[in-house]
Symmetry: C2
C-alpha cells in the first residue's frame, strides 16, 4: 500500500512519526507492506515552494492508496494573502481528491471523561459520528468576491442535487453500520439549499426503512449537543454547519487530543488527520499527543484498506495504554504518568499483541 | 409610549400577559403611560389572515415606540410552503423595521447554575453579550433558488460594507459599556465576506483604543464557548454564525427559559422577545415560564425608552423571586416551589419596590 505522509506544520511532523512507527509495527505483525512517501503542504510548502499545495503533492496523493495529514497553519502565515494561506492547501487537497465525506467520530474515553467541561452524567457514554459534506457549499461556491469597488461582498452557498445525495447516502450507510439513527441538520426555515437537503433526506429515507431519521435545525443542534449529546448517533450535514458542529462536539468528552478524522470518497481513497490543530506553541518539544494521529491511521486501515482487525487492534492498544495510566501532558488522567510524544507511541506499540 | 404586542404562537400569549402585568405595575409606580396594541404574527396570523405577517401588523409596528414578541412557530405549520411559514413573519418584521442588531445577553443565575449541563466551575459567573447582525447575510441574500430544473440550488451571503460597519460599531459600543473586551467571530480562512468583516473590525478598533479586540474563527468559537465561556465579554458576529452561537450559548448556564433578547436599530426602536421557542406542547396550561418575556420587557425599557432604573428594578425583582424559591416547572431550583405562569408574574410584581 502506497501511503502519502503530509506532516505539514507545527506538531505535524512529530505526531506523524508516532503514527508511522505504529503502522510499521502493525505491518510487521500482519505481513503487510506499507510504503511511505512524504510531501509538503500548508505553511511548510509555502516556506519551501511559495504555495500551500505544490502540484507535486497533488500528483503524489492522486496515485496513492491513502494520505495521512498532520496539521496545517500557524501564526507565522497569518498575514499572507488569502490564496497562499496554509489552509488553502488543506481545502485544495480535499477538493482535488474529491474527498466529499468527512467522518468525525466523537467518542468518550472513560479515563478522560472527568476532564470534560460537561458533567459526567451528561457525556459519559457519548458516541457520535458526524458526517460532514466537505467539497461543496460556501467553501467552494462562486462568486466569492468584493463588489462595487469594495463596498460590498458576496459568498455563494451552492450544491448540486448529486452532491447532496451522495453525502446523505453516506449518512444513511453510516447509521446502518452503527445504531440506526440519523439526524440531518439544516436551516430549512431560512435557506433554499437546506430545503433541498431536507427533500433529499426524505427521499433517501425510503430506501433505508431501518434507519430512524430526524431533522434538526442547526441552531437547535448546537444546543442539543450540549444539553443531551447522548441522544445522537449519526449526524449528517453540509460543509459549514459540519465544521462548526464537529468542532463543538470535539470538546464535549474531554478528549480533543485523541480525536481522529477521515475524509473519503466512494472508492476507498481517503485522507486521515487528527482533529486538533498544529499547536505551534508546543512544536518540536516531543510533548504533543500523537494519539489523534495514531487513531486516524487506524481509520485509514479500516476505511481505505479494509483492515478491520488491524484497526481495532490499534484502537484497543491506545485504550490499554491510557488505562495503564500513560498520557501526554495535554490529557488529565487521574494518577497517570506523563510521557513524551515518541514514548507514547512506543507504549501503544508495546500494547499491540 | 406606544407598545405593540405580538403574542404569536404557543405559549406566546400567556407569557405576554405576564410581561404586560409587570409593565403596568412599573408604569403605576413611575407614573409612565404605556399603551398596548395587539397584532397578529406567525402561525396565528397564518390561521387568521393566511399570511405570517399581515400588512396591518407591519404598519402598526412601524409607528410604535417598541414591539414585544412572544414566540412564533409550531408543528401545525411545518408543512406549509416556505413563503408562508410562521418564521417568515419574524424575519419579515426584523427586516421591515430595519432591526439590524440582535442583542443576546447570556447571564447565569446563581440559583440555577447547578442545573447547567456544564460543570459549575466552568459556567459560574459567565456573563456574555452576543451582538448578532440580523438583517443581512445568508438570511436575505439573493439569489436563493433552485437551478438547472431542480438539479442544483444556491443561497447567497451578501453584505455591504455599511451593514458590517454599523453592527461592528454596535459591538464596540457594547464592549465600552461592559468590560471592554470584544471578540469578533468570522470564518476568514474561507469566506471573502469574513475577510471584509475582519478588515472593518480592525479599522473600527482604531477608534476604540480602550477595547481589547480578538478575532476568532467560528469553529473555534463554538469550542471555546464550552471549554471556557467566562473568557468572553462581547461577541460580535454575522447573522447565521450569531444564530448558531447564541443558541449554543443560551444553554450554558441552565437558564434558557430566563433569557431575553433585543433586536434594535440606531434610533432606539426595538423588538423584544424571549430566546426560548413557542413550546406548543405546554401552551395554554399556565405552566410556561414568563421570566424570559418579562426580562425582555426590561430590555425594552432600557434600550427603547432609556428607563434604566425601571429596567434594573424588574431585573432585581426577577432575581429576588428566584432567590425566594419561586419558579416555573421548567426550572430546577433546589428546595424551590413550583408556581404557574400568572402566579410567577404576580410574584415578580410583589417584589417590585
Ligand atoms: C482550516 C479550515 C479551512 C478547516 C475547515 O474549515 O474545513 C478546518 O477548520 C477543518 O475543519 O478541517
Ligand atoms: C426562527 C428563525 C428564522 C430565527 C433565526 O434563525 O433568526 C430564530 O432561530 C432566531 O434566532 O430568532
Amino acid at each position: 500500500k502506497q501511503i502519502i505522509m503530509l506532516p505539514g506544520d507545527g506538531v505535524g511532523r512529530e505526531i506523524m512519526e508516532g503514527a508511522k512507527a505504529v503502522l510499521n509495527a502493525v505491518a510487521g505483525e500482519y505481513h503487510h507492506e506499507f510504503i511511505f512517501h512524504e510531501h509538503a503542504i500548508g505553511g511548510d510548502a509555502i516556506d519551501r515552494y511559495g504555495i500551500p499545495l505544490p502540484e507535486e503533492t497533488v500528483k503524489a496523493c492522486g496515485s496513492a492508496d491513502a494520505v495521512l495529514l498532520g496539521a496545517v497553519g500557524g501564526p507565522k502565515w497569518d498575514d499572507v494573502e488569502a490564496a497562499k494561506r496554509p489552509e488553502r492547501g488543506l481545502l485544495g487537497i480535499r477538493k482535488s481528491l474529491g474527498l466529499f465525506a468527512n467522518l468525525r467520530p466523537v467518542t468518550g474515553f472513560s479515563s478522560l471523561v472527568h476532564s470534560s467541561p460537561l458533567k459526567t452524567e451528561i457525556v459519559d457514554g457519548c458516541d457520535i459520528l458526524i458526517v460532514r459534506e466537505l467539497t461543496g457549499g460556501l467553501y467552494f461556491g462562486t462568486p466569492s468576491e468584493r463588489r462595487d469597488g469594495g463596498n460590498s461582498v458576496v459568498d455563494t452557498l451552492r450544491y448540486t442535487r448529486l452532491e447532496i445525495e451522495r453525502i446523505v447516502e453516506k449518512g444513511f450507510e453510516s447509521a446502518m453500520m452503527r445504531n440506526g439513527r440519523l439526524t440531518s441538520v439544516d436551516k430549512a426555515n431560512v435557506l433554499e439549499s437546506s430545503r433541498m437537503w431536507r427533500e433529499v433526506v426524505n427521499e433517501k429515507a425510503q430506501h433505508y426503512p431501518d434507519v430512524e431519521v430526524e431533522h434538526l435545525l442547526v441552531d437547535a443542534a448546537a444546543m442539543k449537543l450540549i444539553t443531551n449529546p447522548k441522544q445522537f448517533d449519526v449526524i449528517v450535514t453540509e460543509n459549514l454547519f459540519g465544521d462548526i458542529l464537529s468542532d463543538e462536539a470535539s470538546v464535549l468528552t474531554g478528549s480533543l487530543g485523541m480525536l481522529p478524522s477521515a475524509s473519503v470518497r466512494t472508492d476507498g481513497v481517503g485522507l486521515y488527520e487528527p482533529v486538533h490543530g498544529s499547536a505551534p506553541d508546543i512544536a518540536g518539544q516531543d510533548i504533543a499527543n500523537p494519539l489523534g494521529m495514531i487513531l486516524s491511521s487506524a481509520m485509514m486501515l479500516r476505511h481505505s484498506f479494509g483492515m478491520e482487525d488491524e484497526a481495532e487492534e490499534i484502537e484497543r492498544a491506545v485504550n490499554d495504554t491510557l488505562e495503564a495510566g500513560f498520557h501526554t501532558a495535554d490529557l488529565d488522567l487521574k494518577k497517570g504518568r506523563i510521557v513524551g510524544t515518541q514514548e507514547m507511541a512506543k507504549k501503544v506499540i508495546e500494547n499491540l499483541s
